[in-house]
């Protein structure tokens, strides 16, 4: 459903993403893990059509993003880490506009907007300006926009940041339900517990390259210990905890 092949992104002499390939199947929740600056967000932004790859190919729902950008984007929902929302629109207006961007209009849009506002527990604030929303409410609004057009694949960058436990639980439930309905979800996250709990498969990226891919168990085995928590495995694969240095400094 989301397939990327040998994706490369260079900024001048610096290679941010270096030959990344991934395949996220329908119904799969795929965790995209890596330390800060590893190339996760850059990869997701290339899949969403916001950044032009230096080379490589992105295919969403069978549509090549470079050749059929509109068809590919129609199948995709993107939830960025720092989303843009029109602060002076109400939640209802924002979702109506968002639906229009994906070709949903007429009578259907109003019902669909209400469905999404109900699902993400925002119906009470339908006619309030977004500028008055808390961070968590904005996050939920962006998610409702991403799912509004019934995408076949979803790319989400750090979905749990700033959410309270209730909000986080809601998002996890929505992702699971979407996955059961065959939606492919590629999720970048730093919260390894979330990845361990939700993802069917994970990929770990380091300095622009995928260094491990598989189920959580497979990745554990790659790291050499089948019983560790994902956090320990992640630290081992990406370069240690640095605790010794911390002790020396403190």
């Amino acid at each position: 459903m989301i397939a990327i092949e040998e994706l490369v992104k260079q900024y001048g002499g610096f290679t941010a993403v270096d030959g990344v390939s991934l395949d996220v199947k329908p119904g799969e929740i795929h965790g995209f893990l890596g330390p800060n600056g590893a190339g996760k967000t850059t990869t997701l932004r290339m899949i969403a059509g916001l950044l032009q790859p230096t080379s490589g190919r992105v295919v969403v729902n069978g549509h090549d993003l470079a050749r059929e950008p509109e068809a590919a984007k129609t199948s995709l929902g993107f939830i960025p880490d720092r989303p843009f929302i029109y602060e002076k629109l109400t939640a209802g207006e924002f979702l109506t506009f968002h639906g229009g961007l994906y070709g949903i209009d007429g009578d259907g849009i109003s019902d669909r907007v209400h469905e999404m506002l109900d699902l993400f527990e925002l119906r009470r604030w339908e006619n309030e300006l977004i500028e008055s929303f808390s961070h968590g409410m904005k996050q939920r609004l962006v998610m409702s926009a991403a799912f509004l057009h019934r995408p076949r694949a979803v790319c989400v960058d750090e979905p749990m940041v700033g959410l309270d436990p209730r909000g986080a639980r809601l998002i996890k439930d929505v992702f699971r339900r979407m996955s059961e309905r065959g939606v492919a979800i590629l999720m970048s996250t730093h919260t390894l517990e979330v990845a361990q709990e939700m993802c069917h498969r994970v990929s770990i990226i380091l300095r622009g390259r995928i260094i491990a891919t598989g189920t959580v168990d497979e990745v554990r085995r790659m790291a050499g210990d089948g019983d560790d928590e994902l956090t320990s495995v992640f630290l081992r694969l990406t370069g240690g905890s640095g605790l010794q240095e911390i002790d020396e400094i403190v």
């Binding site: 590919a72 984007k73 029109y86 629109l89 207006e93 961007l101 070709g103």
Partner: protein, 561 residues
């Protein structure tokens, strides 16, 4: 169903509607002030254009000739502005606007996105030109007793006229964003602003408007206009628009030049759309990449700060403020147009040949010292509202650092004051002294102006810092902060203060001036009144400065409670 491109403009319309419905404190005041200023400007333009057109109408064919040239010249004046405005606006609308992050990820065709962005670019880049042009054209029509068709012709000519230069500007932006190795879009803005500032100065030097002031040249105005004509003039859209309007004024129509305007506008739009389809995504992609930013270490700032007798806290606040300001190109860049205008101001007065009116030159020169004082005051107010007033707000989301550290709000705010004051005093003193020097103002008035400007700068910087602390808008863009309720309140108070200062300084200066011109000595009582007036001016300035600062400190302290 895919919606037509105007759909993409809806959020802006909805946002404006919501903003109008849910007004904030000061919105009505701000709207009425700006609205009144707009009405006054429109009225003045209408009156001026009406007067000029009726005067020209008295010259029969010669008047027609001048009117025809004048219309062409009017459009020519706006042509360069529109192209420059197109470059800057397109940079924002096509490449830097925040909502592109949403729109570029949505299945919006390149053509629809282009049309929506281009419409927005044309609107944003040209509204000011249309605002200035409309009352002039209406006045020309009314004064010439034009038929209703003239106004329709004017509307039909102005639309393609603004599209052409904006399309050229947008094309230049598209090219530059894709070609320049340094992808930082602000550098591009700096480049274009510098070019524009230089172009203004060069254009004015080239035109030499001071020649019109020479008595022997006055009857020969046609020569002046003729110098503006060149072999390429008939190829410019400004000429076509002028011709179309002139034909409309005569009750006829100029289909050839009208067609030239529309076909060129459409052709430029089509070519730009094709170029946009080919290069926009690459340019957009480049413009949002975050490469290693060029960091200038600005060691000299550290060195200067260490040489000053400051506490560690004040030194660090000073270093931080100066470095943040200097590294943010978009901030200090906004000073360039102001500097260009000041240069023109000085140049124009330097170029005035007042010796040709001998019986007036002495008085005019010295009155100019007072005009210059007012001008310096307005420059200080303008710079202060944009750079000093937002100083507290500019701390933004980092203000917690100051609030949680053992720094008193008094120290913090006074640091902001001195940081704003020093460059401002230097700038206004240089401006005032050099302008008075150019004009050969009497030494007494030179000293009065130089001292008064110091007092005025203290007062207005204090007022800006104090009100900025009373009405902060953390996290807002500095331009928005300047236009906020507090910013407008500052401008009103600053203007009132300047007017009072001009009276308090101007009245005793005028007494002294007339005693000199009429060669009679000043009586002791008059000298005493002069001294009182000067003291009142100084007292008002000191009070404005200190009361504002105290009020600002109190507001910040209350924020912590």
């Amino acid at each position: 169903m895919t919606q037509a491109f105007p759909f993409l403009l809806l959020p802006h319309l909805w946002s404006s509607r919501n903003r109008a419905r849910r007004r904030k404190k000061g919105d009505v005041l701000r709207a009425s002030i700006f609205g009144s200023v707009g009405v006054v400007v429109c009225g003045a333009l209408f009156a001026g254009a009406y007067w000029l057109t009726t005067k020209l109408a008295g010259y029969e064919e010669f008047g027609d000739y001048l009117l025809r040239l004048g219309l062409s010249w009017l459009f020519l004046t706006f042509l360069a502005f529109l192209a420059f405005s197109g470059v800057v606006t397109a940079l924002s609308t096509f490449f830097l606007a925040d909502d592109l992050r949403l729109l570029m990820g949505a299945p919006v065709s390149a053509g629809r996105l282009f049309m929506a962005r281009f419409t927005r670019t044309v609107g944003q880049a040209s509204w000011m030109v249309i605002f200035f042009m409309a009352p002039i054209l209406v006045a020309v029509g009314v004064a010439s007793c034009a038929q209703p068709g003239f106004y329709l012709t004017a509307a039909l000519a102005v639309v393609p006229f603004v599209v052409i230069p904006v399309a050229i500007g947008a094309g230049m932006t598209l090219l530059l964003v894709n070609v320049l190795p340094a992808r930082r879009a602000r550098d591009l803005l700096m480049l274009t602003s510098l070019l524009f500032a230089a172009a203004i100065v060069l254009t004015l030097r080239f035109i030499q408007p001071e020649r019109l002031m020479r008595v022997e040249n006055l009857p020969d105005v046609t020569d002046f206009f003729a110098t503006l004509q060149s072999p390429i003039t008939p190829l410019l859209p400004s000429f076509w628009a002028g011709e179309v309007l002139f034909a409309g004024l005569q009750g006829g129509s100029d289909l050839l030049h009208g067609a030239a305007l529309w076909t060129t506008a459409l052709a430029f739009t089509v070519v730009l759309a094709a170029a946009d389809r080919r290069w926009h995504f690459a340019g957009y992609s480049r413009s949002q990449e975050s490469p290693k930013a060029r960091v200038t270490s600005l060691r000299i700032v550290d060195a200067v700060a260490h040489a000053l007798p400051l506490s560690t806290v004040r030194r660090q606040l000073l270093v931080k403020d100066v470095k943040v300001f200097l590294r943010d190109v978009s901030q200090w860049l906004q000073l360039l147009p102001l500097f260009a205008l000041v240069l023109l101001y000085l140049y124009n007065f330097r170029a005035l040949d007042l010796e040709r009116i001998p019986y007036m030159s002495g008085v005019i020169k010295n009155v100019y010292a007072l005009v210059n004082l007012g001008m310096a005051g307005f420059v200080v107010a303008t710079v202060a509202v944009r750079f000093v007033f937002p100083a507290v707000s500019a701390e933004g989301s980092a203000f917690w650092l100051v609030r949680t550290s053992p720094v008193s709000m008094r120290d913090f705010l006074w640091s902001k004051f001195w940081t704003g004051l020093v460059p401002m005093v230097l700038f206004t003193e240089i401006l005032t002294i050099s302008a008075n020097e150019f004009m050969g103002v009497a030494p007494f008035l030179k000293v009065v102006a130089a001292v008064a400007v110091i007092f005025m700068t203290f007062a207005m910087v204090g007022l800006a810092v104090g009100l900025g602390a009373r009405y902060p808008r953390f996290g807002a863009d500095p331009n928005q902060v300047a236009g906020s309720y507090g910013g407008v309140a500052f401008m009103i108070m600053a203007v009132l203060y300047i007017l009072v200062m001009i009276v308090l300084v101007g009245w005793p200066s005028a007494m002294w001036l007339f005693s000199r011109v009429r060669s009679y000595p000043l009586s002791a009582s008059r000298e005493a009144m002069m001294a009182v007036s000067f003291l009142l001016a100084a007292g008002l300035s000191v009070a404005t400065w200190l009361v504002s600062m105290r009020s600002g400190v109190r507001a910040l302290d209350e924020m912590n409670r």
